[in-house]
Amino acid sequence: MSAFDATLALVAREWLRLMRQPARVVATVGTPIVLLVALGSGFAGSISGLMDVGDSRSYAAFLLPGMMAMAALFASVFGAISLIEDREGGILLVLLAGPAPSGSIVLAKVIGVGLPAFAQAMLLLPAAWILGIHPSVPQTLLAILATLLLTIGIVSVSLTLAWRVRSTQEFHAIMNTVLMPMWLLSGSFYPASQAATAMRWLTAVNPLTWPVESLRGSLAGERSALLGASAWPLTIAFAVGSLLMAMGTIGLGKRRTSG
């Protein structure tokens, strides 16, 4: 009960932090919306038929899952920076010195950062109807599940990377060299199944591609053209594997925090 209450308290803290930094929400959701509108309408006449919604808005519809991934990514990055601040400020040391299992503290951080990230990605989902995709109820539920798994994976990866670096500046460098390329190579902007062979492989082995493909497939009611039936198992593996990696890395953090 105590570990559960500790987890709830830490999750509530992340929500409070988010509510007191409205600029974070604007930055997280605003950028994908701007990209969605700018790229979607800008390329509307030259790229079409990528997602079968029967009108010229199809490129924007194709972009939507990638933009939802971007919203989750940005929110995760902000949350991961708070982990660095917690460590540098000593909050994490005080938490880890307490009786709550270190695993529950990591889990709380994943949930605390992940829930707002998930919510912010979900804010973009209604655009599916605006863009003419009109997913059915089961498709929508699957899309929500894919977004949830995407968020768990990306939050866990961000937190693990944040734990490994020494400063927020170093984390920004990691973001530019690891996280942004992961997102750019996730097939968010291009149909990977039609890309050159090398790019197709690069996209297929990128873990962020897996949930993006599952999300796109769910919305369209189709199997992933790039990954086929493997998309969902890979998506689940990404979420579970990343979560275990974060718990393993940060859960052993007592030594690192104090040493």
């Binding site: 209450d5 005080v94 307490g98």
Partner: protein, 270 residues
């Protein structure tokens, strides 16, 4: 309450050859205030880490596991949250039952002088108030042992005094044992016991008055000019003073203090 027996702590990848802490034995009882002093790198933070359970000894043993709470040099609070929100957050993480939280918050807020500031965000508080808020946070978990790493470092005189007075009051009213590391020997002199560490070794420990008595002199005369000192008993002081006056040398006189103990012991290492 907690006992360290022949504890040695080494860190992997440590640059220096010697352990951070060597063969240290120590016992801490309820309601004691213990000051840990020594230069940077003496092993103070390592000792605090061992007492809090965050560090494990390389050899030796730590017995007893009092409920402890830690206050670091940095304010370990979320600056976006209010004092009350921070206090409740840490109390929940440390498993303090809901009915106890409000009562304890009122009690500790009164001692720390923060009753009227509970709903202010930590980020809007001055350095001294934020440090007191951190003390409040630490006391919310109802510790038997409170561990503080230079709790008054970097504060102005008034805030500094307020923190040290608050520690006295916490011990008096709540019976908590307090271990603090400090570079301020005036703070250390107010403790029940002082531990002097040098290069990971405990070189002296005892009540401040005992340590000063162990110096072998009780008065220090400081003649103007050459900066030298005459250390002597109170009886001899008048004679030395008369000699200085006969030579036309003015002087200052002061009681021997913990500073002399520190300088004497640390000077041996220089």
């Amino acid at each position: 309450m907690i006992r360290l027996e022949a504890v040695t702590k080494s860190y992997p990848n440590q640059r220096q050859q010697r352990p951070a802490l060597s063969d240290l034995s120590l016992r801490i009882d309820s309601g004691e205030i213990i000051a840990v002093v020594g230069p940077n790198g003496a092993g103070k933070s390592t000792l605090l880490g061992l007492l809090s359970g965050v560090l494990k000894p390389t050899s030796g043993s730590v017995s007893g596991s009092p409920r402890c709470s830690v206050v670091l040099q940095r304010t370990a609070l979320d600056h976006l949250l209010t004092v009350r929100e921070n206090a409740v957050l840490f109390a929940r993480v440390y498993g303090v039952p809901a009915p106890e939280r409000g009562k304890r918050l009122d009690e500790v807020a009164k001692i720390t002088g923060l009753t009227d500031r509970l709903d202010e965000r930590v980020g809007s508080l001055s350095g001294g108030l934020a440090r007191r808020a951190d003390l409040l946070r630490a006391m919310m978990v109802g510790p038997e042992l409170l561990i503080l790493d230079e709790p008054a470092a970097g504060l102005d005189r008034e805030s500094h005094r307020a923190i040290i007075d608050t520690l006295d009051e916490l011990r008096r009213s709540m019976g908590v044992a307090i271990v603090l590391s400090t570079h301020d020997l005036a703070d250390a002199a107010r403790a029940d016991r002082v531990l002097l560490l040098r290069e990971g070794v405990l070189v002296a420990s005892g009540a401040p008055s005992e340590l000063v008595e162990g110096l072998g002199y009780s008065v220090v005369l400081e003649p103007a000019g050459d900066g030298g000192e005459i250390r002597c008993d109170r009886d001899e002081a008048q004679m030395h003073a008369a000699e200085l006056l006969a030579q036309g040398v003015s002087y200052a006189v002061r009681d021997a203090s913990l500073e002399d103990v520190y300088d004497g012991l640390m000077g041996e290492a220089r």
